[in-house]
C-alpha cells in the first residue's frame, strides 16, 4: 500500500493489489498541482479512477477533495499537471469539446444545485431539453423513469424549496444520470443527511453504478458509509495522496495518520489546535494576531 507523498512516485510504488484494470482507467491524473491565494491545495497528485468502479476520495475537510473534482471536470485550471478523462486532456480542450465531454459526465453537487425556479420534473428534464431534442411524450417517460429510479416519481411537481436535503440530492442524482453519462462525480453526498436518507443515498450510488455500468467518484469524509460502497479508496491530505487501496487494505493500514482519520481520533498527526502562538502570550494582552 502506498503511503506518504513522494511526488510522482505513485505508479512506481503502486501496490500489488492496485485495481486490476490499470489499462482501463477512465480518469488518469498526473502531477496535478493547484494553488489558491498562495496556498498549495494539491501538490503533484497522481491518481487513477478505474472504469466501472466506485472510487472514493476521502480526507479531512479543506484538503482539496472538491477542488480535485472541479479540476477533473474542467471547472478549474491546474497550475501544473494533467487530467485525462476517457483519453482526453481536459484542460487542453476548447469550450465546445469540453461541453461535449461534460455531456458524458454527471456531477452531484453538495447542495444539489437544483434550479430553484423549476419543479422537480423540469429539473430532471432540463439536460434532456437542452441536449436531446426528444418528442415530449418520450421525454416525459424518460424523466419519470429517472425519478422512479431515485424513488421520487411522486414528487415530480414539487419545487426544490419543498424538498428535504436528502430528496434534493436524489433529484439532483436523477438529473445527473438523465443523459446516461459514463461517469458521475459525487461531492460530499452524505453531508448533513439523517440515517435513513444516508442509507438511501448509499445504496442508490452503488446500485446506479452497477445497473448503469457507470464509473463513480465519491468525494466524502464519511468514512464508514463511503468505504462500504467503494471498490477503491484514496485518502488525501495536505495536498497529497496519503494512502490508497481497497477498503480492506485501508482499514488494515496502521500508519498513525490513516488510523486517526479512519477511527476519527480527535488528536494525532492532524492536531486538534489550529496553529497559534503560545496561549500565555495571547492572554497577556498582545491581542490575537491575524494571519
Amino acid at each position: 500500500m502506498q503511503r506518504g507523498s513522494r511526488p510522482g512516485a505513485a505508479d512506481a510504488r503502486a501496490p500489488s493489489s492496485r485495481h486490476d484494470v490499470a489499462g482501463d482507467d477512465l480518469v488518469r491524473i498526473r502531477g496535478l498541482t493547484f494553488s489558491r491565494q498562495g496556498r498549495r491545495i494539491l501538490d503533484r497528485v497522481d491518481l487513477d479512477i478505474p472504469r466501472g468502479k466506485v472510487t472514493a476520495i476521502m480526507g479531512p475537510s479543506g484538503t482539496g477533495k472538491t477542488t480535485l473534482l472541479k479540476l477533473i471536470s474542467g471547472q478549474l485550471r491546474p497550475d501544473a499537471g494533467e487530467v485525462l478523462v476517457d483519453g482526453q486532456n481536459v484542460h487542453r480542450l476548447g469550450r465546445g469539446a469540453l461541453f461535449e465531454l461534460r455531456k458524458r459526465m454527471g456531477m452531484l453537487f453538495q447542495s444539489g444545485a437544483l434550479l430553484t425556479d423549476l419543479d422537480v420534473f423540469e429539473n430532471v428534464a432540463f439536460p434532456l431539453r437542452e441536449h436531446a431534442r426528444l418528442p415530449e411524450p418520450v421525454l416525459r417517460k424518460l424523466v419519470l423513469l429517472k425519478l422512479e429510479a431515485v424513488g421520487l416519481r411522486g414528487a415530480a411537481r414539487l419545487l426544490p424549496s419543498e424538498l428535504s436535503g436528502g430528496m434534493a440530492r436524489r433529484v439532483a442524482l436523477a438529473r445527473a444520470v438523465a443523459l446516461d453519462p459514463m461517469m458521475i462525480m459525487y461531492d460530499e453526498p452524505f453531508t448533513g443527511q439523517d440515517p435513513i436518507s444516508m442509507g438511501v443515498l448509499v445504496s442508490l450510488i452503488r446500485n446506479l453504478n452497477d445497473a448503469s455500468r457507470l464509473t463513480s467518484i465519491v468525494v466524502s469524509h464519511d468514512v464508514r458509509e463511503t468505504a462500504s460502497i467503494s471498490d477503491y479508496i484514496y485518502i488525501i491530505a495536505n495536498g497529497k495522496v496519503m494512502c490508497r487501496g481497497t477498503p480492506a487494505e485501508v482499514a488494515a493500514d496502521d500508519s498513525p495518520w490513516v488510523r486517526q482519520f479512519m477511527d476519527g481520533q480527535p488528536d494525532g498527526p492532524v492536531h486538534f489546535h489550529y496553529e497559534a502562538r503560545p496561549l500565555e502570550q495571547d492572554l497577556r494582552g498582545a491581542g490575537v494576531k491575524r494571519s
Binding site: 471547472q75 461541453f99 453537487f109 453538495q110 444545485a113 434550479l115 430553484t116 432540463f126 439536460p127 439532483a172
Partner: protein
Amino acid sequence: MINALASLGRFGLAAIASVGRAHLLLLAILAGLPSMLVRPRLLVAQLYGVGVLSLLIILVSGLFVGMVLGLQGYYVLSQFGAAESLGVMVAASLVRELGPVVTALLVAGRAGSALTAEIGLMKATEQLSGLEMMAVDPVRRVLTPRFFGGFIAMPLLAAMFSAVGVLGGYFVGVGLLGVDDGAFWSQMQAKVDFHEDVVNGVIKSLVFGVVVTWIALFQGYDATPTSAGVSSATTRTVVHSALAVLGLDFVLTALMFGE
C-alpha cells in the same frame, strides 16, 4: 505612506481588473444573442420579470412626478403669464429627462437589485456551476435573456412613465388649477418635437437599459458567493447604476441638446 500608496495601487488594479471582467462578460452576453433568438420564451419570461413586474412602481411614480411638475410648473409659469405653456413644460421635462432618468433609477432599484441577488444566489447555491456541468453555458442561458429583457423593457417603461406623468400634470394643471384644456394639449403638440425630444429620450432609455442591466448582471455574476457577498453586490448595483445613469445623462444631454 508607502502602505497608503500600496493600498491605492491595489485598489486601482482591482478596479481596472473589474472593468475588464465586466467588458468580457458583456461580450459573452452579446455573443449569446443568436442562441436566445432560437428560444424566445426565455426573453419573454425576462421581459415579464424586468418589465411587467416593474410596471406598478413606474406608473405610480410617473403619476406623482407629473403631478408635482404640474404644480411647480404652474406656479413658475403663472408669474410670467405663461400658464398655458404648462403642457409643453411637463411633456418636454418628462420625455427629455425625467422619464428616462427616473425610470432607470427605479428599474435599478427594483429590477436591477433583484437581478443581482438572483444571479448571486444562483452562484452561491452552485446553480451556475450545475449548468456548466450539464454542458449549458450559464451566460447564454441565464444572463443573455435578462440583459435583453432589461434593454427592451427600459424604453417601454420610460414611455409609460412619461405618458402617465403627462396625465398627472394634466390632472393638476387643468383639473385643479384651471389651465385651459385646449392650450395645454395644443402647445404640447406644437412645441414638443418628435425627433428632438421623443427620439432623444428613447435613445437615453436604451443607453440606460444597457448600463443598468449590465451593471446588475455583472455584480451578480462577479459576487462573492456568500450571503454578505451577495448583499454588498446588490448594494453596489444600486449605487453604481444611479451614478452611471446620472453621469451618462449629463453626457448624453450635452451631446443631444448642447449647441
